[in-house]
């Protein structure tokens, strides 16, 4: 085969592979759906006087246009696989937004004020973002130190009772009796005993985190096989080495399960504490919005809260994936 033929064959293969690269049909459908939703929002008059309808339509149209451009660009250079992967979701979201817009803003089928139109929630973000943003920061400021405190204490106590029979003798019964009590049950006492609602809430969140972390750290340490210790002992390891280099790393998978459960528990205590006593944060914002029948604000705060909690869980899983990369078959979040 000559060199020319070689080149020709290679080019033919290239073209064929290009031809095999399928059209991004989901992308095209998503572009049409978003542009359609934009048209519906902009052209069909609202049933009532609502703000930000034009902005909502503009955003929808922008998404649709961007998808159209991506669809075209995909013919020239293939898109990153993740975007292709998201195609069906993009279609579904456009349809969901269009349907939501239709039954709230356009047809007014759902009782107000309990159901908010998409543009009303958009309005909350454009007009009330300083207060929402501050609420997020206040929530995090309360949650994170308390969570770290509870997780740290739970970790230390878990190791202590997993390692030492003597400590276990005294701590274990107390942990068994008090641990299962929901942390929110301490609210009446906590708000009475602690000098401020912030410190009381810190205590409650730390307590809620403490229990699962302590129990799972303990069970992780207790489950370490004696062979692991024997290996290190025959090589001259001292007790501190056995704890820090054998028991703790071996228990880490279990510890992370505890940290995950503790994070979930800390969220619920955070929101309850903010609704009941703390005059700041997302929980308080929701309570306050509901008091004014500002349901759009409430839903917006709920959405922000979902994003916040999900982000924190994602971060925790990232840390775990990094620390436990030696494990096979980790659950991906």
């Amino acid at each position: 085969m000559s060199a020319v033929e070689d080149v020709r064959a290679a080019r033919g293969a290239l073209i064929r592979s290009d031809a095999r690269h399928p059209l991004w049909l989901a992308g095209a459908a998503a572009a049409v759906a978003w542009l359609g939703a934009a048209a519906l929002t902009a052209l069909w008059p609202d049933a009532d006087d609502l703000g930000r309808t034009d902005l909502l339509a503009t955003i929808m149209a922008t998404i649709g246009a961007a998808l159209l451009v991506s669809f075209a660009a995909d013919r020239v250079r293939p898109l990153p696989p993740i975007l292709r992967h998201l195609g069906p979701w993009l279609v579904a979201l456009a349809l969901a937004f269009a349907g939501w817009e239709l039954i709230t803003a356009k047809l007014d089928l759902l009782p107000r004020p309990f159901f908010a139109a998409p543009q009303s929630m958009l309005e909350v973000f454009t007009d009330d973002w300083p207060r929402l943003g501050e609420s997020v920061l206040r929530s995090l400021w309360l949650l994170l130190p308390a969570y770290l405190l509870g997780a740290g204490a739970g970790f230390l106590v878990g190791i202590a009772i997993g390692w030492s029979r003597g400590i276990g003798y005294w701590v274990h019964p107390a942990l068994r009796l008090i641990g299962p009590v929901p942390a929110v049950a301490w609210i009446p006492i906590a708000f009475f005993v602690f000098p401020s609602s912030h410190s009381a809430s810190t205590f409650l969140i730390a307590l809620a985190t403490f229990f699962p972390v302590a129990v799972l750290t303990w069970s992780g340490v207790a489950a370490v096989g004696t062979a692991y210790y024997d290996v290190a002992r025959t090589m001259g390891a001292k007790p501190w080495f056995l704890i820090s280099r054998v028991a703790v790393p071996a228990a880490m998978p279990s510890v992370f399960v505890g940290l995950f459960m503790g994070l979930g528990a800390s969220f619920s205590v955070l929101v309850v504490a903010e609704m009941l006593g703390v005059k700041a944060g997302l929980g308080w914002y929701m309570q306050w919005a509901q008091g004014w029948a500002a349901y759009a604000n409430m839903y917006s705060a709920l959405l922000v809260m979902a994003v916040m909690c999900s982000t924190l869980i994602t971060l925790l899983f990232r840390v775990r994936d990094r620390l436990l990369s030696w494990q096979k078959g980790l659950v991906r979040w």
């Binding site: 096989g225 062979a227 692991y228 024997d230 290996v231 290190a232 002992r233 025959t234 090589m235 001259g236 390891a237 001292k238 080495f241 280099r245 054998v246 790393p249 071996a250 880490m252 436990l324 030696w326 494990q327 096979k328």
Partner: protein, 265 residues
């Protein structure tokens, strides 16, 4: 109190010379459901420095218990075990135990597993080169950064061997280290263990169920009775290495050992 004094060479910190082991009238029992279960019955055995001794016996007869006592992981109920002129009263890095399972730490790379003993004694910084040497010795230099779940069972057992050798043990205690390997890997590892033993000159104590393995590797084979273990026979295997499994003397010894174990053909 000491039998024949062994390991007369001046002990250096870096690489202790091979030590002998004196097992003097050792009896030991476990407690099972509140009753004592004797596993060793007045075992008396003298192993010279640099010897390779295989312990053979029926399953569950107490051989592994004897190894744990020599390693210092448990203390004998009666009698004493003396190494380097001192009774064994606890684990010591000069006597390293290798188990049937590799028991590598899954969260450490192969190299970090091999360096375990040095790290535990705070010597990893100065003696890191020993980790590389040990990995080379067992042929795992290209897997230093692999995690245990990424390597095969045979490689994991090699890594466990390297983890033992890195401590430069005077006595290497092998508790059926090849028991779970496939037969090909097993034959290969038998040769390698003998080669490393000849090269390093440590004292080796090997528990195995495999008569042929014992005869191929050891200079002396001790045959134990059923539980509680008593020494039935002490057979020297005066054959040069490398040995061949079809060697008539080895075949004769095998028949003799099988007879002692009640499996005469």
């Amino acid at each position: 109190m000491v039998g024949p004094v062994v390991g007369t060479g001046s002990p250096s910190l870096e690489a202790p010379a091979a030590q002998g082991v004196e097992i003097v009238d050792v009896s030991h029992a476990f407690t099972l459901e509140g009753r004592p279960l004797p596993v060793l019955d007045r075992v008396h055995l003298s192993v010279g420095p640099g010897e390779f001794v295989a312990l053979l016996g029926p399953s569950g007869c107490g051989k592994s218990t004897l190894l744990r006592l020599v390693a210092g992981l448990d203390l004998p109920d009666e009698g004493r075990i003396v190494a380097e002129g001192r009774p064994i009263d606890g684990p010591d890095p000069s006597r390293v135990l290798m188990f049937q399972d590799p028991t590598l730490y899954p969260w450490r790379t192969v190299a970090a597993n091999v360096g375990l003993g040095l790290e535990a004694r705070g010597q990893l910084k100065q003696l890191r080169h020993r980790v590389d040497e040990a990995l080379q010795l067992v042929g795992l230099e290209n897997f230093a950064s692999a995690y245990p779940h990424q390597i095969s069972g045979g490689m994991a057992q090699r890594a466990a061997l390297a983890r033992a050798l890195v401590n430069d043990p005077a006595i290497l205690i092998l508790d059926e280290p090849l028991g779970k390997l496939d037969s090909l890997t097993r034959l290969q590892m038998q040769d390698e263990l003998v080669r490393i033993w000849q090269d390093r000159g440590f004292t080796a104590l090997l528990v195995t169920h495999d008569v042929e393995e014992a005869l191929l590797m050891a200079g002396r084979v001790i045959v134990f009775s059923d539980r509680p273990a008593r020494i039935r026979a002490d057979l020297p295997v005066a054959l040069p290495y490398p040995r061949h499994r079809d060697d008539p003397e080895l075949v004769r010894l095998r028949r003799e050992v099988l007879g002692l174990l009640g499996l005469a053909t």
